[in-house]
């Protein structure tokens, strides 16, 4: 089972690498296939960091458009996903900054997740909603780390590259954030 999954992952990665190489040469159809293969993962990341469906979808769109325009700068196709997450993180923080400037930094935590996302019917919506509400109590950069490492499953090293910090600083930050999350969870 495990090796079958690994084999599937390897096939997926090799398909993605080929598509990235083709898209780098300006092939928009290959880029469309990349979107097809990866958008559900990026959308999940964005929903947890933004907390709102519309904002998350807009962020996903902006991230892919920016990625396509900057694809020629990507040196190693195998690092595409990490690079895409980095672009998304930068856009997310930029959008937050500009909204704060416009005094529009509102996050609607009262909307139930059930109404704002469509997901697998077996998903425990109530628990997902609690997770989302607790996540939104964290600062954006803390939320990013938590989602990247503990939900998305990135290693400390990968997360450090995405958030442009040292691995040791990521480790010490996630230690504190995890403790805080567990405390908030028990209090809720």
């Amino acid at each position: 089972m495990g090796s079958a999954l690994k084999k599937q992952d390897l096939q997926h990665n090799s398909e993605l690498n080929t598509l990235v190489i083709q898209a780098k040469q300006g092939d928009r159809d290959s880029f469309a296939k990349i979107v097809e293969l990866t958008s559900h993962r990026l959308l999940k990341f964005c929903i947890f960091i933004c907390g709102q469906k519309q904002t998350a979808e807009d962020l996903v769109q902006d991230a892919y458009v920016k990625a396509f325009r900057k694809l020629h700068q990507l040196q190693r196709p195998e690092t595409f996903m990490g690079w895409l997450f980095q672009i998304t993180k930068n856009l997310f923080l930029d959008q937050l900054r500009s909204r704060q400037k416009e005094d529009q930094a509102t996050i609607d935590v009262d909307n139930d997740l059930e109404n704002i996302i469509s997901c697998d019917p077996t998903t425990d919506i109530e628990k997902l909603n609690s997770i989302r509400k607790i996540l939104l109590q964290f600062e954006p950069d803390e939320r990013l780390l938590l989602v990247l490492i503990d939900i998305e499953g990135h290693s400390y090293e990968e997360a450090a590259q995405i958030v442009s910090k040292s691995e040791s600083s990521v480790k010490s930050n996630i230690y504190r954030i995890r403790q805080e999350f567990i405390k908030k969870w028990s209090d809720s």
């Binding site: 300006g26 928009r28 880029f31 469309a32 979107v35 097809e36 958008s39 559900h40 959308l43 999940k44 929903i47 947890f48 979808e57 807009d58 996903v60 769109q61 892919y64 458009v65 396509f68 996302i117 469509s118 997901c119 697998d120 998903t123 425990d124 628990k127 997902l128 997770i131 503990d150 939900i151 499953g153 480790k171 996630i174 230690y175 995890r178 403790q179 999350f181 567990i182 969870w185």
Partner: protein, 186 residues
């Protein structure tokens, strides 16, 4: 001593990580479905690759364009309308199920001058000034019909949408879009 401390903190962090995995299990396992038109919307926003036809005389053309640009900048008053901005598509979302619930069977989108429809698959829509969609045959699973539009230059434009019931207009809606700023949604 220091390394022992760091080792114990690492071990504690690993224990916390395991606890987090338990708590976040629904989030880790959740599979989110991308909205139906996400890919089309992204592709619509990718500008086509530029094709150079200058050939070996490209440097002459580039120099001429540069000189013309200098002339324009020195001879014209600078205002935002003189700036050529790369067109950015916007999406108007129509929810067919909401309209069907109101017994509306057709919607027609009218564009003002300087605005055009954009579609990768149906490039011919660029030439149309209006697009009509019949809602009767649309499946119940489809909850969003996106119309991608693009303006020639920045500014506010009014897009009119008429809603019909048995051939009669029952409602009109004006969507104001500030082009190059926000996505319009109704």
């Amino acid at each position: 001593m220091k390394s022992q401390n760091s080792k114990s903190k690492d071990a504690e962090n690993e224990a916390l990580s395991c606890r987090m995995k338990e708590l976040l299990k629904p989030a880790i396992e959740a599979q989110f479905q991308s909205p139906p038109f996400l890919k089309s919307r992204i592709i619509a926003r990718l500008s086509p690759p530029s094709r150079s036809t200058f050939g070996r005389w490209s440097w002459v053309a580039t120099a001429t364009v540069a000189m013309a640009l200098v002339w324009i900048l020195t001879n014209l008053n600078f205002s935002p309308t003189n700036v050529k901005v790369e067109p950015k598509p916007y999406v108007i979302h129509i929810d067919p199920q909401q309209l069907k619930a109101k017994n509306i069977d057709q919607a027609e989108v009218f564009l003002p001058d300087g605005v055009k429809f954009v579609s990768k698959r149906h490039a011919e829509v660029t030439l149309l000034r209006s697009l009509s969609v019949s809602l009767a045959n649309i499946e119940n699973s489809i909850t969003n019909i996106p119309f991608v539009v693009e303006a020639e230059r920045p500014g506010r434009k009014e897009i009119q949408i008429n809603f019909f019931r048995q051939g009669q207009i029952v409602e009109k809606k004006i969507v104001n879009i500030e082009f190059h700023k926000n996505t319009a949604e109704i």
